[in-house]
């Protein structure tokens, strides 16, 4: 019984972690769906998002310390960070990827590696390399029921990420722009012929993906702290989540993220993986997934037309 509770506890932890992975994975998947390339800089956008959130949040906290204001400040910081990251994402797309849309396949990838390097080192220049704590907006005493404890910030993470995903699902499935986005990912030239402004759709995709990454970055910062290279590992894990779910598929990214979160939370204690080797195992899982099922659970197996 005790072990069962323990595992349910792990699964709860995994769910909150997974929700964050899902948020970030959505950015990878949406961009891949439309441009068929992996936005290497996505992980660094989440880092930028976390830093912007932290800076704004701390600035706002300085003005008042009432508990209601703290929560409000958190959400204001989150929204500011989302808006700025969306702009950043659009800017990066415009400057570094758009000119390469018709270049050979390696070009946008190399450009993305360059952007990732600029962002992470720029942040290290401005903020230094040490890691910072992201303060909780409210008291974080765990709530326990039936032996399973969940902290208020875990609830916050779940609520925020799930509502973001619901919003995205609504946007993609029910609005005209969402439909344009799906059409573009299916067939770009035809969509353009149907009067869809493909450039705007791509811009919007980057904006949404980056805004979600900003939220993911802020939520991840509770657990992992904020530092310039935080995007690499979190970003890579989210990328694995996107691949597991089938890259290019939006529901796939959501499922993949949650699955990966639970796997990580349950698997690490179950297999007694030492802390120092955690990243190694994560990379190994990444490579195994890429080799065994590159098309993922919900992805389509795309073949080159000869």
């Amino acid at each position: 019984m005790a072990t069962l509770t323990l595992y349910i506890q792990y699964i709860v932890n995994g769910l909150t972690l997974g929700a964050i992975y899902s948020l970030i994975a959505l950015g990878y998947t949406m961009v891949y769906g439309i441009l068929k390339f992996i936005n290497f800089a996505h992980g660094d956008i989440l880092m930028v998002g976390a830093f912007i959130g932290l800076v704004v949040y701390q600035a706002l906290l300085g003005t008042s310390a009432s508990p209601v204001w703290m929560v409000a400040a958190f959400f204001i910081a989150m929204i500011v960070s989302m808006v700025l990251c969306a702009l950043l994402g659009m800017f990066i797309e415009r400057v570094a990827y758009k000119p390469l849309r018709n270049a050979n396949r390696l070009a946008p990838l190399l450009s993305a590696i360059g952007v990732s390097f600029i962002l992470s080192n720029g942040a290290a220049w401005i903020f230094g390399t040490q890691s910072r704590r992201f303060p909780y907006p409210f008291d974080n005493t765990p709530i326990t029921f039936f032996g399973i404890s969940i902290t208020p910030h875990q609830i916050l993470m779940l609520v925020v990420s799930i509502s973001m995903m619901l919003l995205l699902a609504f946007f993609v499935n029910k609005t005209k722009m969402g439909k344009a986005m799906r059409a573009t990912s299916l067939d770009q030239p035809t969509s353009a012929l149907m009067g869809i402004n493909v450039n705007r759709v791509i811009s919007l995709t980057f904006a949404i993906g980056s805004a979600l990454a900003a939220v993911g970055g802020i939520l991840a910062a509770f657990d992992f702290r904020v530092y310039p290279s935080m995007g690499t590992m979190t970003g890579l894990k989210a990328f694995v989540a996107a691949v597991i779910g089938g890259i290019g598929s939006i529901p796939g990214a959501m499922i993949g993220g949650i699955l990966l979160g639970i796997l990580e939370a349950v698997g690490a204690p179950l297999l007694h993986i030492p802390n120092g080797l955690k990243d190694t195992v994560a990379f190994a899982v990444l490579i195994i997934v890429l080799l065994l099922r590159p098309e993922g659970i919900l992805g389509k197996n795309e073949r080159e037309k000869v």
């Binding site: 000119p99 270049a103 050979n104 396949r105 360059g114 080192n121 990379f283 990444l286 490579i287 890429l290």
Partner: protein, 309 residues
């Protein structure tokens, strides 16, 4: 200042070797690999371990380093090289980090006070940079010639064909998998040799010096010079190392932080891709029209020189 200039010459030699390897993988065969730091790491460790723990000469460790890095390249290559561009890039990134993680977990400090390399009784010490510059650039020249020969042979052409179009290459009777693996192994082996020289110069190895950043710098070197052009890649190595040591060279260490250089490397990748994807020197266009053999060409050159005299 002259000291830093010599340091740049040494490190551009080491990076030129690595870039020749990366160029074989990325420039010739068109595979975007991001684990050159890993091969570099293996080469360094092999030399460090052989020289320090077994007292074996540096010169013997050199081929072993190449073989070890090549072998790891083979192990990495066989499963991953069937992945397409983006996925290969991420998988190799992961493998490069795995190599470094393993090194860190075994010994986070690394190995220090490794015995010096010597040749005919002459000891290459870190203080005497001149001798080291000659040593490393002789090897750069040797590998440059070896890889130029490869690039202009049937085998190198097949690699280029794979870069241009895999399906067409297959239909021309090229065993694509075999060529890809061979190219990857060769590139990895040169990375190992570069690592060997790095150890021989610094006489210490530490896992923290084989980060992802090294792989990106090597990639940057190749992209800046010109993919598939060995001459250009060596020029690239020199420029990248110059940027790397710019602060030390100009005495601005306190004003410009090291992150600025790395941002420049990132910027180079973006800017080159947009404005000059073929690199500074562009592709190496080899004219096959000259029907003379190498020997005849040499004789012709000799004759011309003689005539001038």
């Amino acid at each position: 200042m002259i000291n830093f200039f010599m340091l740049i010459l040494i490190y551009s030699g080491v990076y030129a070797l690595m870039a020749i390897g990366q160029n074989c993988i990325t420039g010739s065969t068109g595979m975007l690999s991001l684990c050159h730091a890993g091969f570099f790491c293996i080469g360094s460790y092999v030399t460090a371990i052989m020289c320090k723990m077994f007292g074996i000469s540096f010169w013997l460790s050199l081929p072993v380093a190449a073989l070890a890095a090549g072998f790891v390249g083979f192990l990495i290559g066989v499963p991953t090289l069937r992945l397409k561009g983006d996925y290969l890039c991420i998988a190799t990134l992961g493998l490069g980090e795995i190599i470094r993680n393993i090194a860190t977990n075994i010994n986070p400090v690394g190995i220090t006070s490794i015995p010096r390399a010597s040749l005919f009784g002459y000891q290459f010490s870190s203080r005497n940079k001149g001798a080291f510059i000659i040593l490393i650039w002789v090897f750069v020249l040797i590998f440059y010639i070896l890889f130029q020969q490869l690039a202009h042979s049937r085998l190198g052409r097949a690699m280029n064909a794979i870069r241009e179009d895999e399906v067409a290459a297959q239909s021309n009777g090229i065993n694509v998998t075999k060529y890809k693996i061979s190219s990857f192994v060769l590139g990895a082996a040169i990375g190992g040799i570069a690592g060997s020289f790095q150890t021989a110069y610094t006489l210490t190895v530490s896992p923290s010096s084989y980060t992802f950043m090294v792989s990106v710098m090597v990639l940057c070197t190749v992209v800046l010079g010109g993919m598939g052009n060995a001459k250009a890649v060596i020029l690239g190595a020199f420029i990248i190392q110059f940027i790397s040591y710019f602060q030390q060279l100009t005495g601005l260490t306190n004003i410009i932080p090291p992150q600025a250089n790395q941002m420049i490397f990132g910027l180079i990748l973006v800017v080159m891709m947009i404005w000059r994807p073929q690199g500074l020197l562009g592709r190496d266009k080899y004219r096959y029209g000259d029907p003379r053999t190498f020997k005849e060409k040499l004789l012709a050159v000799a004759k011309r020189k003689g005539g001038e005299r």
